[in-house]
Subunit: 452 residues, 2 copies
């Protein structure tokens, strides 16, 4: 993309309404615009990152064998009356009356609807195991929406639901989700720690939240420092293997890690003092096993091998897709702006032409732009007639992890400068070498994709 | 995908509520499920086609130089009060009150919001031309939602908005959209004819609707039969060329083609009688030029080269993404089911194993499944323990354009059968040749993609 043809409305001033750094940087980098309290437009740069995150979530869900569908944003009140949650949900549910005076609501979650879909079509245990998921906009009418996309009202979420014949199978689905979530977050450059949590209005016994450590996190967290040394890496997983999934769950959950809701000071005290950590965390996902809580009242049953009709065992599993942009920025920024991990960056590299209008820097920049694209990379070429300082400031603010600077002095020796946004370190090299270097930098990102 | 692990709830019986063939077939093929009047879940097969259509729309928009973003589903009433449309829009607008008693609405279109975004950031003519678009769920509270996704209440639409300095530039944007739409629909295997139309509540002078001919179309249309001979084909277009865009517009709009709203019997009578056609059409898109209708009242102005502040010239451009599934099916089906065009099919080919459980057909089917995937194709392997007749009926119903049948008799001679859904013609060949044949069939589909 050529910046002169893009729509990237960066702000020079810090917006007053932003209390936390991700909100401030998303507004300043022209990623979002508030349209109403807690309701945002995703401007082109923000939309591009949102898409990238959505893509990773889709890929990792499908790698784990889960099936995508799409449920609507609006639901009928009747469905929620069946489960008993219509009245229980409270003021956070946005209730709507249509022109025929029917009660609708903007879905805050989809346990009822997916259970309804399941019971309408499935009647035999042979269709199990089954996990269906979608990524859809949801609405929770928060009393005090704030912190930008971190606590918005209209937000994008992946929510998945497993249907299993037995508790044992459903616990495998739980473990499988935990494993796939670890991989999902790592691909985004995040360390998200699974912590034992409280089940809240979803219900159920078993639940883990995934938390990203950040000073601005909404939850206080307590953990054994050994947990932050764990890496998922590029392990090959057979998601149908109960043994593999269970052993990874054990590896990642055997050390103490809890939110303030489930924290137990006595257990925490047993950890050697030098490993005890107290910090703040941002919740980016949660998994639940809740058994027959919805299947029983809603009649989601199957006939088992013995010919008996039994309610299915279920769980639900969420990833806060839009909120992840905020979480990633909270975890990865400096005073100049955002620092995108390679896995989610909106553009792979920025090209800064130091002397726009100069025949040789212009043609070298154009050539590099084309070669990067030919190599399968997605560059943002700052071709505006602006001072070098302004171009650098924009690149630093929007946080592309790599920048190539092209100026007349270097070009005389066939050199450009490749700079890491994270370390600030620059290296001179030929344009061809810069392309090769970037290809190898992004190789792991491309290799991590799942094509089905 | 292995069918035994998929979620494809096909129905044996014709659903009573479906009055038109696309609605009936989408329900029977397990593509959609009604959750409330005019509100649907997109089951996995339907979601897959929806995605494919969305992808084509995104690619062709970006090929034409348009920039994607994403506006929220909910909007404030105040924005619509500014343009004067809040009261004018009538009962089709779904009005909502949140817990703070603020008036919101579920967006039926986005002229106001995009104008608000534009005026908030753009002040110089240098940022022009600019076309922003999004693909987002919208809501129109139809009095009588019917015909499945053809006239739903919650529907997915691509809507784009151009901002130009002059009327001339804005008319180029109009022409550019018309050209890009022709290409978009052809990639979906559709012939959509641009017809002069009525502007309705969007306003403006210039507008064309794109109509797909189908018996169940909601509009009566009148056209010169020569128009159906026109093909866009694989022309290379420079979308910045006003000349190229204008000449294609002239080519596709110079012959008589109008809906009943704009039909002129006297002009129609001038066409030689043997070329006059009356038929029915389904609207799948519409483009508008409306000048300063929104920019003036809402203050979307730029400073021009002379330093004068002038309102921008705008247009808007819509494609009915979810409705397109219905339109494609109306245009392409037979008594057995859907016939997907290669450009939008959910799976490229179906594999029918005639003797599931037989070691040799099972292993040949598995090998073929893997080879098709390795060739970059997306097969659906019917690995269920079902009779051949049931497997064929499912494949015919869901409409994959190609089927490979594997049975013990053919395998003895290393032969499988490749069958065209459209013609019903089968050919025997080796599995390796079937893979090669399918690669060459889908080559044009892959080549038509736009990677930016």
């Amino acid at each position: 993309m050529r910046l002169s043809r893009y729509f990237l409305p960066v702000l020079k001033e810090d917006p007053k309404e932003a209390q936390i750094v991700s909100h401030r940087l998303m507004l300043r980098a022209g990623m979002i615009r508030q349209q109403a309290a807690g309701i945002y437009s995703w401007l082109p740069l923000g939309f591009k990152v949102l898409n990238r995150i959505e893509e990773i979530v889709h890929e990792e869900q499908q790698r784990a064998g889960h099936i995508p569908l799409l449920m609507p944003t609006l639901q009928t009140a009747d469905l929620w009356r069946e489960s008993g949650r219509y009245d229980a949900y409270g003021d956070e549910m946005l209730r709507i009356t249509d022109r025929q005076k029917r009660d609708l609501l903007y879905g805050p979650t989809n346990e009822e609807m997916i259970t309804d879909i399941f019971r309408s079509y499935v009647s035999s245990y042979k269709a199990l195991p089954l996990t269906l998921y979608h990524i859809q906009w949801k609405f929770r009418d928060e009393m005090r929406p704030r912190f930008g996309v971190m606590r918005g009202r209209e937000f994008l979420m992946k929510d998945g639901y497993n249907f299993d014949l037995t508790k044992e199978d459903a616990l495998h689905a739980y473990n499988r989700h935990l494993v796939s979530y670890l991989r999902t977050y790592e691909r985004m450059g995040l360390q998200a720690i699974p912590m034992r949590a409280d089940s809240g209005p979803i219900g159920g016994d078993d639940t883990h939240e995934f938390l990203v450590l950040a000073e601005t996190g909404e939850s206080e967290v307590f953990y054994d420092s050994q947990i932050t040394d764990l890496k998922f890496g590029d392990r090959e997983i057979d998601y149908t293997s109960t043994e593999q999934c269970r052993s990874i769950l054990e590896e990642f959950t055997s050390r103490y890690a809890r939110t303030d809701e489930t924290h137990d000071e006595a257990v925490f005290a047993e950890i050697p003092e030098e490993r005890r950590r107290t910090a703040r965390g941002i919740e980016v996902g949660q998994i639940f096993y809740f058994g027959t809580k919805y299947s029983e009242p809603m009649g989601a049953t199957v006939v088992n091998e013995k010919g008996e009709r039994v309610p299915v065992h279920m769980g639900s599993h969420g990833i806060g897709v839009s909120r992840l942009l905020g979480a990633i920025i909270e975890a990865s920024h400096d005073e100049k702006g955002i620092i995108w991990p390679e896995g989610v960056t909106p553009f792979h590299v920025g090209i800064v032409n130091l002397k726009q209008g100069d025949a040789s820097t212009d043609s070298a920049s154009e050539a590099l732009y084309r070669e990067l694209k030919a190599a399968g990379l997605d560059p943002l070429y700052d071709d505006r007639d602006e001072r070098a300082g302004a171009k650098f400031a924009t690149m630093d603010l929007i946080g592309l992890p790599w920048r190539i600077t092209i100026g007349p002095r270097g070009l005389a020796e066939n050199k450009v400068e490749l700079t890491s946004r994270r370390t600030g370190i620059s290296e001179e090299m030929s344009p061809a070498d810069a392309v090769e270097r970037l290809k190898s930098i992004y190789q792991p990102v491309f290799e991590a994709t799942y094509k089905g």
